[in-house]
Structure formats: structure tokens, C-alpha cells
Symmetry: D2
Subunit: 342 residues, 4 copies
């Protein structure tokens, strides 16, 4: 059985393991105050083109989302997210459990628009009973989105502009950031994201690390006491160095981007083959998640050899499925799949 279920089916990229072995017996302080976290943070600051950002290393995505949002909002404030956003649907109410509503906006492609944000903001402002409704304060976007799509530079700039005008924080969930930054058609990079967002994170768990997300805080107002909130939410790893070592390895020689490019290339092959054979897609993407629409018969047949997610029912006879690639996806497995698609 070949798994295309997720981008976290294997362990870590071998170079990460090597580095962990190499440093294993060194003694370091705990809780992210070691030299490796320091170096990784410096590297990220450099690549973001900004010395004045704060970098923190957390273990996972849900944890990062709830810690960041809990740190950013006062009790009456809420986050705005796409209805398909991870915090809207797949975190068992993690944000609400910290006391905050998530306003979920409709979207076809997983992306939010500046116009949508402005609408929410204006509706709240103009509501005579605005004190009876939650106050919008943070916009949550994912890049790539949960549907594999990416924001363009213009789109992100406009979101950022609107957020600034409306006094909203812009928070970008980059659990799969590498796949976005290396995909065909992408015109974003770390310095631009640093410029446009108040806070974001660079995902490791889904991009070759054992685990880990590098949270970057650019807005001064969000920096204060962030480590307290990390600790409170169980998000401060005792052996924090493990995160530093992994991110250092990912970023010192562009490993992060190489890995991501490979995964995208594997996904491109899958997408192109389905396309060639006349399949429709739930949505077309250039990143490591592909959502072809298959007949139930085809799904059953492919499932004998491959494991993948049935994403969404289309009609009685067809469903959209998800094929997901990663640093570990073997070209030979993809070519086998290509053969079987035919």
C-alpha cells in the first residue's frame, strides 16, 4: 500500500535525523533558550529580511494557532477565517476553548478577500448594537490554504492594507508554507509575508521535520509575554533544542525549499496525469495537494493499491479525493500511480 494520505506519513528528512544524532549528547538549557534555537531564529530573521521580528518554536499547528490567537485577543474579540480554514473545522474548537468565536466566511477556493474582511468590519462598526456582537480583531488565513491554493502578492497586500485600515491583525498559518513559496505561479516570499502579516508561522511538521512550527511575530503589540502564553498552553517544549536543530537544518542550505519543490513536482505529475485522462478537479492547485474528482468505482479500484483521502462527496457516483505528496514521496510510486490512472 502506497500512502498519499498526508504530508506527515513518514518521519523526518534524513539530514534532520543526522543533525539530531550529531548533537544528541550536547548539554543545552531547556525551553528554547539554547544555541540551536538562537541560530535557527537568526537564520529565519535573515531570510525574512528583518532583525526586529520575534521567532518562537512550537510543536504543532493547532497548538500554534490557539497560542497565537489566545495571546492576541481580548475576551470579546474574535478571529475571522474561511469556512474551510483549519481553525474553523479541524481543531475540535481549540480557538473557542480559549474563549474566542471564529467568524467563518464562505469561500470557494479556501481564500479570503479584502472585500470580505471589509464587509465584516463595516457590518460590525455600523451595527447599533455592536457591543452585543463579537468584535473582529484578527484575520486568519492559510497559505497554501487547506485546498492547496495560494495567495498572490497582490491579494496578500490588499488583505494587509484592509487589516491595517480596520485595526485587525493579519495572521498567516503557514503549516504548508514551503509548498506555497515554491509552487508555480507564486510571487510571495518570506520578506513579503513578514511585511504584510502581523504574525505567521513556517510549518515544519508537514514539510520534512519530525514536528515543529516556527512562529514569526512582526507586530510589536503581539510580542509581549508570548513565551508565558506558550508555557500556559503546553506549547513550550522542554527539549526546545530539538526544534532549533530542525529549523536550522531546514533553513541553512535551502533544504526547506528543495523538499517543497520536490513535493510540488510529484503533485504536478499526478495532477497532469488526471487532467490528461479527462478528470475534473474540485479545485486546481499547484501545490502538494491535488483534488481530482473520481467515480466511486475508480476510488475503489485505486484504493486497492493506494491510500488517499476521500475529501468531499460530489454526487451519488463521484467524490473529490485528495492526493498529498511530500519530501518523502518517491517518483517511482508516482509513476506507478500514473500508470494506474491510465
Amino acid at each position: 500500500m502506497i500512502r498519499f494520505n498526508s504530508d506527515y506519513a513518514e518521519g523526518a528528512h534524513p539530514r534532520i535525523l543526522e543533525k539530531l544524532i550529531e548533537t544528541n549528547m550536547e548539554q543545552t538549557p531547556g525551553y528554547g533558550e539554547d544555541i540551536y534555537c538562537q541560530r535557527a531564529a537568526d537564520l529565519i530573521k535573515e531570510q525574512c529580511g528583518n532583525e526586529n521580528i520575534d521567532v518562537h518554536f512550537l510543536v504543532g499547528g493547532t497548538q500554534s494557532n490557539l497560542t497565537i490567537i489566545a495571546a492576541a485577543l481580548r475576551p470579546h474579540q474574535c478571529a475571522i477565517a474561511a469556512i474551510s480554514g483549519h481553525i474553523s473545522t479541524h481543531e475540535t474548537g481549540a480557538i473557542e476553548a480559549t474563549g474566542h468565536k471564529v467568524i467563518e466566511l464562505p469561500t470557494e477556493d479556501g481564500k479570503l478577500t479584502a472585500a470580505q474582511i471589509l464587509d465584516v468590519y463595516n457590518n460590525h462598526q455600523n451595527d447599533e448594537t455592536h457591543e452585543h456582537t463579537v468584535q473582529p480583531k484578527l484575520v486568519y488565513i492559510s497559505n497554501p490554504t487547506e485546498l492547496g491554493t495560494i495567495y498572490s502578492k497582490t491579494e496578500l497586500m490588499e488583505l494587509s492594507k484592509t487589516c491595517k485600515e480596520c485595526d485587525l491583525y493579519l495572521f498567516l498559518d503557514g503549516a504548508r508554507l514551503g509548498y506555497g513559496l515554491t509552487s508555480v505561479g507564486n510571487d510571495l516570499d518570506l520578506p513579503l509575508i513578514t511585511e504584510y502579516c502581523d504574525v505567521f508561522y513556517i510549518g515544519g511538521t508537514k514539510v520534512g521535520a519530525l514536528f515543529g512550527e516556527a512562529v514569526v511575530i512582526t507586530n510589536q503589540a503581539l510580542k509581549q509575554d508570548f513565551r508565558y502564553i506558550m508555557k500556559q498552553k503546553g506549547a513550550m517544549l522542554a527539549k526546545g533544542r530539538l526544534l532549533g536543530i530542525q529549523f536550522f537544518t531546514l533553513f541553512e542550505d535551502n533544504l526547506y525549499y528543495e523538499i517543497s519543490k520536490h513535493a510540488n513536482r510529484m503533485a504536478d505529475i499526478i495532477r497532469d496525469e488526471f487532467t490528461k485522462n479527462g478528470y475534473q478537479f474540485l479545485i486546481k492547485t499547484c501545490t502538494n495537494q491535488q483534488f481530482p474528482i473520481l467515480s466511486n468505482v475508480d476510488i475503489a479500484k485505486l484504493s486497492e493499491k493506494y491510500s488517499f483521502l476521500t475529501w468531499q462527496r460530489v454526487d451519488d457516483y463521484n467524490s473529490a479525493v485528495r492526493f498529498c505528496t511530500s519530501w518523502a514521496t518517491r517518483e517511482e510510486d508516482v509513476l506507478q500511480l500514473v500508470k494506474d490512472i491510465k
Copy 2:
């Protein structure tokens, strides 16, 4: 500089790393639903002598504490803990952040007694205004405690009996459980702890793993939907197999106990040397944490070569310090320290 600061200064025991490397390219389902978590859980069930327990793998201690307590309590219920308990003092209010008060009881040695618990329970019951006070529902103990002491079988049995009589859950934080179970004078083991406690965890982070705590739920009432709460609290690791692999390695050949014994033996040497040289202790322990009282002059001198925690001021001239050993502590470093103590 030789570090005796903590039991998490190094990476992981080499056999754990080996196993991670060996399994690295295998594809598994995420979120703890893989074969390694299954095997590790089976091993733990076997060693606990009980098939009907639930085993979950979480990343860290604060995370485990807040997840367990949030899962166990209704909003008006509280935990009872020693004033020195980890949840009382060193988790940045993690329990309160889930909505629950921690009643902190005084203790000299870090341990709670059945009589103390009964008192709290009776005071609440007899209070005419009991609805105006939080309802005791869970007793949190650590074994070993944060002061390195351990509960005897009789003490734990009595606590358990009192908790059952008062309809309280007994929760044992075993972040350093290995050091307790292998220490001189210990008469507890996993089957007894399984019998006496409603929920407990077997610590990995501080006992040779990269990270990880194995939560064991014995009380049926606490089992339902625990994985939902894990997910909500950011405590469900995407690559859950990493936890399964580590705990399987720790328990398949008694590595967990060997590691712990070594650390205790190293600590014994340190304790005995300080004792021989006439030093007093904040408290005497047989586990991997030692709390000798040193003069400020001695502290300054030892600090040139060794790193350790200043635990508590005793008077203007003396403080209790903590020396902490682990699986990774080298006998030669301890002997060097012994020489320097003299």
C-alpha cells in the same frame, strides 16, 4: 561546564534514536493511530497488568496535566495539589486557563496525605455555603514529587481509599516516574499505581525520550472522548508514531528502568558525598534530584565548573541547590564533582 540543571539537558537515549532512524521511511497513519502507538500501548497495558486501561501519548507534562484535568472536571470543580506541585507553581496557570481552581495544600516534603484530602473534602461538605466555593473533585500528586520524594505503597493506598470515599479522582503525575519506581525504598510498581489511580502518566521527556508522556486512564468515567480533548488542546501529535516508537523502545527491554536506575545511582553518589562532608539537605531523597544546602561562597565556587539550580534561599549566607542527574549523566563527571565537593 558540566550541567546538572535538569534531566532534559541532552537529546534522547541512543536506542531511541536508532529506532527512529530505523523506522523513519515507513508510512503510517497520523495522530497516534499507527502500529507503533498500538504496540507501545499494548506493552504498557501488559506491564500495568490491566487490559482495560486506555493509553494515550502526549508530548509534554504541562500539556498532559491541562488536558487530563480539563477532560475530568466540570466547570465548578477544582483540583487539589501540593503547594509545591507542578500545576500549582510552574505551569503559568495552565489549569486555571482551562477554568479550574487549584487548591494548594501546604507540605514539607512535596507529598499530600490522605488526612489533608479528607479535611478539604469535609470542610467543603460541611460548609453551609458550599455552592459558593469550588467543589473538590480531583487530587493531583506527583511521584516522585517536585522535591524528589516518593510515595510508599501504604501512602498511595490510603490516598486512593480516601479519594474513593470522597468521590475524588486521583491523578498521579509521573513525569519522573522511572526514578521513583527504581529508587531505594520504593515499594510501588505499575500494577499498584494502575490499581490506586484513576489516571496517571509515565514520563518520557525527563526519562530518556526526546519528549513524550504516556497517559494511562484506568477510570471508565475519564475515558470517554479523551482524544477530542487532546486534539482541542493541541496535544495530538501529527506524527504520533514518534511517541509510540519511543515508548515501545523504552518498555520493550526495560530500558526505562535501566536508565532510571543509572540516574538514581549517580544521584546517590552526589548525595552521599555531600553528606559525608557534613552538608545539610533541604530534604533527603533517593531519586535523581538532590537538594544540598550550600553556602553562597560554595555555590559561587562550584558554579565555575558546574551548572545547577539555586532552588531556595535558606538564609543570608546559604541556599538549597538542586543537582539533577539523568540517563545521560556520566560517572566521570559525578566523580569530578565528588572531588570538588571535598
Copy 3:
């Protein structure tokens, strides 16, 4: 200026004030443990036709909603409500602030259907990643709804049946219950609501009292320790007798129903007059809230003499407005309005 803004623009029905004056100098225990709360609870039990229900008196609607839902749910569970439901839109995230998500369902008339509930339940059950999504556990409905519509006996019975099948609590917010129970076409009564719902409340604030909501708990599972949660949420009035006295007065001689009927009759006149003059309605109701659609010109003109809510923009030239009547609405004011509508 004549106010049709709300059903809480005046103080209390004079008989309530009389009773408060009459009992003012009596000494009673606090916190709802007085003879008047006892009597009012007995009266409500009698009128609900059930001795085994618990009755608690709280001050307001948002307070009742958040206290009930916090008492009912475990951390990973959520409430389901209409998108127009009070907890969805007009309580500043009060439910989320207790840690729980509100799943908001679309509705034209403010009502939820059994089919919608079943869908939500089934989608959750069938989701392979159900542990990653909040668990539905409580259905929140209002009767009358925020749009003035009411549930029929059949509709409520079906909702109840579905909830039982899906192990969901059914919670009815009766902030305006009187207006519903006395409206044209209603076939519900207190015994039926008691039978169908796990918990509900009888609104006082909007039906002639100074303030107050009588919470009725019928499901045994929801009864335990409710007073603890009330106290914790600031919902236990020190001079609890004020609530007992008011509800006793409202229910001892059917005052509650007389008041409600009067308000409905006043609303009927308004509705019929708008209808006669060819106005459309956002929705047609038989209770004390009327939602005619007026042109902006008409709104401006009527606003010179009357105060009422602009509810919802219809198009560039027209908006739905809300006229709200109460026990205190004077027939002469309504007739004046009728004249002005013409």
C-alpha cells in the same frame, strides 16, 4: 416619541411592583433559598405538570444561556443554533467565552428543523476525523424565535425525537415564551415543552417583570450542581426573593398570559394595518414582534414620532423594521400609529 423598540422599555407590571412593596421589609435568606422562590417554583412545577423538574431563577437571558450551556457541555462539545439565534449573534460571544463553539445553521424563519439537526449529527458521526471536529451535544432553539415565529407541537416533537436519537440536549430559550404560548395558531403549552425539552426558560425580563428568567431543568443529567455554576457565572442574585416574588406574581393568576395576549393583540393591529396598506413583511408573525418592509422615506417619516428598530436592509430603497409591543403598549399609541401608517 412613542417607543416600539423593544419589550423592555418600561419598568414592570404594576402588580409586580405592588408585591415587591408589600414584601419589602420581610427578612428572608438570600440566594434563592427563600419562601417566595419556593412558592414560585412550586407554581411553575404545577403548571408544567411535573413535580420532578428543577426550577432556578436567573436575572437575564444571556446569563441564562451561558450558564445553562456551560453546565451542560464538556469542553469538546458544542451547541447548534440558528444563524439568527440569540447566542449566535447578540451575546458578544458569551457561549464561546465559556469555551464552546456554536454551530450556526441557515434558516429563513429563525427556526431549526429536525432534518437539519440530523444532518449535522450524521456529518459528524460519519466524519473519519470526527475527533478533529467539535462534537454536537446541545440544540438551542428560541420560542418565539428572534424573528417572532413559533414552533408547532409537531415541529418541537420532531426536534425532541431527533435529539433523543442523537443523544443531544434540546434547550429552548423562552425569553419571550409568553408571547408564543398565547399567539394565534400556537398549539404548545408548558407541559408539552416540559416533555419535549431537556431544559428551557420562561422569560420575565421581556414579559412584564423588572428582570428575571425561570430556568426549568427536566433532564436529570443536567440538574446536578446547577447552583454552583450559577454562582460561578455571577448568576445567583443575592436578594433572590426578588425573582421569586416576580414569578409568583406572574403565575399565580395567569398574569403572565394576560400580559402576553395584550402585547400580541397590539402587534396584530399593527401587522394588519401594514398588510391592509400593501406593505410586505420580512416574515409574517403572530407574536409581539412585527417586521414590515418600509421604504427609507417612510422610515424617516415614521421616525419623527415613533422609535423602532431598523432590522435589515432589503435593497437600496427599502429596509425591514421591527415594531415590538409589550404588556405596557397602550392601545391609543397603536391606534395613532395605525392612523399614521395610512
Copy 4:
């Protein structure tokens, strides 16, 4: 049976009821945006000698405490209170339920000292692991305290100074403020409290109103969006005018102070009679709560005719009890009690 249990055993001062009747049929906006709330706020601003304070009217004490503290703190911050403080002991964990720990300090007389606060602050600052402990941010005091004692001007000034130096908010719970401000030996007044505190409230529930607490916010940082948090916590009364009317009545002709003085005078008689007859006190106070120590035999005898609280066991034969007076305490009842004490 004559009740000396509490200061909320009766309804409201007759002048308040009169005013409620007089205004009953007036139509006003809801939620505290009426003319009466405006007038009451203006009156309070005038008496506090400060135009730049915000005044909000809430229903009860627990509600005010939890709303204020939830509005003031970030998630990792805590309140500091006396162990006898209302938020520490008698609010069923209301503060913790909003996510915040209460650090409870020992006290004999219910009061906190500036030195105690400084200690807590310094211990936190100097703790190397300060990010692992909750951050002190707000000091909660009651005046009079739960033990009937009062702060002097000097004591409050020193607390204020220390709080400012340590960047802590000073919050004064004035549930019984009237009794404090009119007691023998008091040298505080509203302008001084306004100067020294960041936020405080003037209690109505226990000082002659049906219910109500007037929250005064003096610190600019605490003002923003307070009404949102009120709404979220169920603390925004629909018929807010009821609060405005009551506080206007209490403050327009010094009724608040007259009432309080009467209660204190009644308490003085009781205290003096117990003293004359050789009784000891748990603590000596000049406000409306008296805590004589009685033998169990005396308690049983007095309980035949009077109702009062058994406050605290002293030894096997004696307990401290609480006699509480109010605006409604009749001199003849006190004289009867005096006779019976003899």
C-alpha cells in the same frame, strides 16, 4: 426570628422603591443607555471629583469581580488577593473560570499590605523561570474587607504607590463601601479612592438597593470596550435604568451615607454590649459586621431568637459568629439583642 445574617435580608430602602414606582411607565432605551444611568453616572463622577472616570452599572458583586478582572488581564496574568478575599473563597472559582489564577496571601485582618504585594512582585521578577509562573498584574482588595476592617488613607496610598511601581492594577471591591466610608476612624472618601485605585465599585446590593454595583474605572487602559465584556458575561441588564434609578436615589441626597451610618451605629451597639460583657472578638471592627466569639452554649441559646452566621470554629467549645446590620436593622431589635446578651 430576627435575622442578623446578612445585609441583604430585606428588599430595598423605601425611597428607592418610590422612585422605581414613580418612573415605572416611562419608556427608556435599554442596556444602561438611558437618562437615569446617565444622571447617576454624573452624580458619581461629581462625588468622585473626576470627570474622566467611566461609570458602569452591574447587577451583583461576583458578576462585577469577574467582569472587571476578565476585562483587565491577559491570559497569563493573575490577581493577587487576601486568602479571605471574596474572589478567593466565595465565588465558586468565578475568576479561575475566566482563566486566571488568584494568588492568595495570608492575612489576619483581611487586609493586604504594600510589603506583601512588593514581595510577590519581586519573587516573580527574580524567578529565573518567571515565564513558567503566572504574572502578577492586578491587586484585589475589599473595603471594608470580608472581616469588616477598613483601609486607612495611608495604607491605601502605599498600596497604590507599590502597585504603580510594579505596574499592577489596584482594584477595590466596595460591595460594602458605604459602611467603610462612614465608620469611626475612616479617613478615606470617594475622591481619594478614585485617585488611588485603577478600578473600584460602589456596592448597592448590600447597602440599601434591590441590587446593583456601580463600577468606576479610573485607569484609561481599563476603559476600552468594557461594555462588550459586560455583555459577554451576562452583566448588562436589559432594563438598565433600574440600576441608574437606584444609584441616583442613593447618591442625590446622601441616602447612601445615611443608610450606612445607621447600620454602623446598630453594629456599634452590638459590639459594645458584647465587649462590656467580656466577650472576645475574632477581630474588632467599626463597620456593620461584628465577629464576637461565643460559647457553643450561648450560640444555641441566642439562635432560638436570632439568626446569625457561625463564622469560624475557635476551639471545641467556642466559635466566632457574625452579626450583620443594615439600613433595615431596627433599633428595637438591637436593644432586644442587647438585653439578651446580658
